[in-house]
Symmetry: C2
Subunit: 348 residues, 2 copies
DNA sequence: CTGAAAGCGCTAACAA
DNA sequence: TTGTTAGCGCTTTCAG
């Protein structure tokens, strides 16, 4: 290990507060007070400056472990994620949480459990050992989870998931509103006969988006036609395969359960010599940038607010925001309009 | 004077080692020894068991801060990332690092700096305060970086980046080998006239992959034709736009700088009524699952070993693996064959 | 084989 | 306005 040590200390030891005190000719208590800007500490400006100078000169760095030990409290927040590598989703949650935590002087301890129960147990144990203020338990897609018992030992906020039969606060995307928003975008462009390609897998997204779809339609005075609701695997292949059936129904627009499905559907549209949005308008869901922003034409969609989920999670944890009655905070899914919806000229 | 009376647990405090000792009727030293399985500690099996039982019964959890304080060393590793939310890349690095760290009993402190110098400084300061064993400084795409000065104060490993003029160990993908591998896959399928759609932006990937392309061709006895090397923006649009020029050259195969370019190129191919791989074989680069695995046909590509980059980073940091002479560890980019390359029947 | 005791670096009463 | 003094919970010699 090449460890060059340009430290102004002897034998690699770090500068301690006590050394700063000696250098400044004051007591450790004084140093502690000025460096922490303890409220109600009466320290003369001259002393204050002397301490600051000494600390700077020596390159003093506080020892977090010592501070944690004596105060009995840390500024750690644990974040356990089930899969941070497969999509950018978990990354966005981490990012949002990180930012919000950072803003309050907190640091994130992150653990990836890959859905492994044992890893999960270990991760939580380690977080507990580090006296975290609490734990954000998150999943990369919105779903129900079974909670590790160890979570009972600290404050826990569920992020992008919920635990049936538990009263732990949960922050989740508002799937119903999302479905409504997507459908409404199509309605606003004048479409009346709108298909919904839902997923085959049961999930809050499946149910919520469907409900939102129905609500928007009904609010526009349109009766929901079950023949216009399809199920497809939530991937490109699902969208590709479902198109013929969608077309048979003579719709002018289709709301896809997610962007990947929309991408596959685009392919099928093109293969038939048709084009989006001239022949078929398309709304996606998820706003997966890498796909949505670069399809031809760029895909209009509804975003999943992962960053905000993480951020709201830490706010709830730190008590900066109140947990809504029912313990469930639903975050809005924003509309992201691009170019895949044709305006029919009629107002919704 | 030590108070001999059993001290009452204050304010919902956690069980301490001392309480375990009292419950087991032994000293704290003994408890420490058995719980840590200190080598060379002579503790009778009976005592040992008694301690274990007491710890279990009380639900004892060690206090990491106290341990850190007394040992003067922590099992933290810092990971600073420039962008964990835009692609799954950073997530993969974190994942790989996490796993490797975890395996050695280390915990990751992660910070997202969004390229913000101040955030970077703060993040490193906080990691230093927590006495991290070292820091992994990472970027989401392979590039040169300018190092924050504070990194000098601890062991640092560069992950997916390098610092010109610094001798810090760096772990990076082997772009040259990657380019060679991609080209070789095409050669192996019998292709001889192979285009390379490189990116317009200068980068190690730009230079390395180009070099690998040339090396593979030359090794196959083919002269590199500069007319077959194109520059395109490293996105779908770049691939879409470049296709006409590629086709003019009468190639049978094209190696794209990345999967996104390949995706755009697919679209252009389809628009001309041609198909992949019948009319044109395509190799991508990056192995972005969400795209590559679900294009029609699925894209053959070369993977970027982000997870391994992170893992190797911690191994280097912890001294489990030697830093190669030159300080640069180049990790192999694996071939990922799917269905976008047509076999011409001739051996390369 | 086991225990007593001395701190690790820092904060927080309380004194002065 | 500043200093003294206990520890926080744990590891670690060193005695017994």
């Amino acid at each position: 290990m090449t460890n060059s040590t340009p430290r102004p200390r002897r034998r690699g030891a770090r500068v301690t507060l006590r050394e700063v005190a000696e250098a400044a000719g004051v007591s450790t208590a004084t140093v502690s007070h000025v460096l922490n800007e303890t409220s109600g500490a009466r320290i003369g400006p001259d002393t204050r400056q002397r301490v600051r100078d000494a600390a700077d000169a020596l390159g003093y760095r506080p020892n977090a472990a010592a501070k944690n030990l004596v105060t009995g409290t840390t500024r750690f927040i644990g974040l356990v994620a089930d899969a941070i590598a497969t999509t950018p989703f978990a990354g966005q949650i981490i990012h949002g949480a990180q930012d919000a935590a950072w803003r309050q002087g907190y640091t994130l301890l992150v653990a990836n459990t890959a859905g492994n129960t044992e890893a999960e147990r270990d991760a939580i144990a380690m977080m507990l050992d580090h006296q975290v203020q609490g734990i954000l338990y998150s999943t990369w897609y919105h779903r129900a989870v079974e909670l590790p018992a160890a979570l009972r030992e600290t404050n826990t906020i569920l992020v992008n998931c919920y635990a049936p039969g538990s009263d732990l606060p949960a922050v989740v995307p508002d799937e119903v509103q999302g479905g409504r928003t997507a459908t409404q975008a199509l309605l606003d462009a004048g479409h009346r006969r709108i298909a919904f390609v839902n997923t085959t897998t049961p999930s809050p997204a499946h149910d919520g988006r469907l409900r939102g779809y129905g609500e928007a339609l009904r609010a526009a005075g349109i009766t929901v036609d079950p023949a216009l609701v399809f199920d497809a695997r939530p991937e490109q292949e699902g969208g590709y395969d479902v198109l013929p059936r969608v077309l048979e129904q003579g719709v002018t627009a289709v709301f896809c359960h997610n962007d990947r499905v929309a991408m596959g559907l685009y392919d099928a549209v093109r293969e038939r010599g048709l084009t989006v949005p001239e022949d078929l308008s398309v709304m996606g869901f998820d706003n997966q940038e890498i796909i949505a922003a670069h399809l031809r034409p760029p895909l209009s969609t509804v975003g999943l607010p992962h960053g905000e989920l993480g951020a709201a999670g830490v706010r709830l944890l730190l008590g900066q925001q109140d947990v809504p009655p029912g313990g469930r905070l639903e975050v809005t899914c924003p509309q992201v309009l691009r170019a895949s919806v044709r305006n029919l000229g009629a107002a919704g």
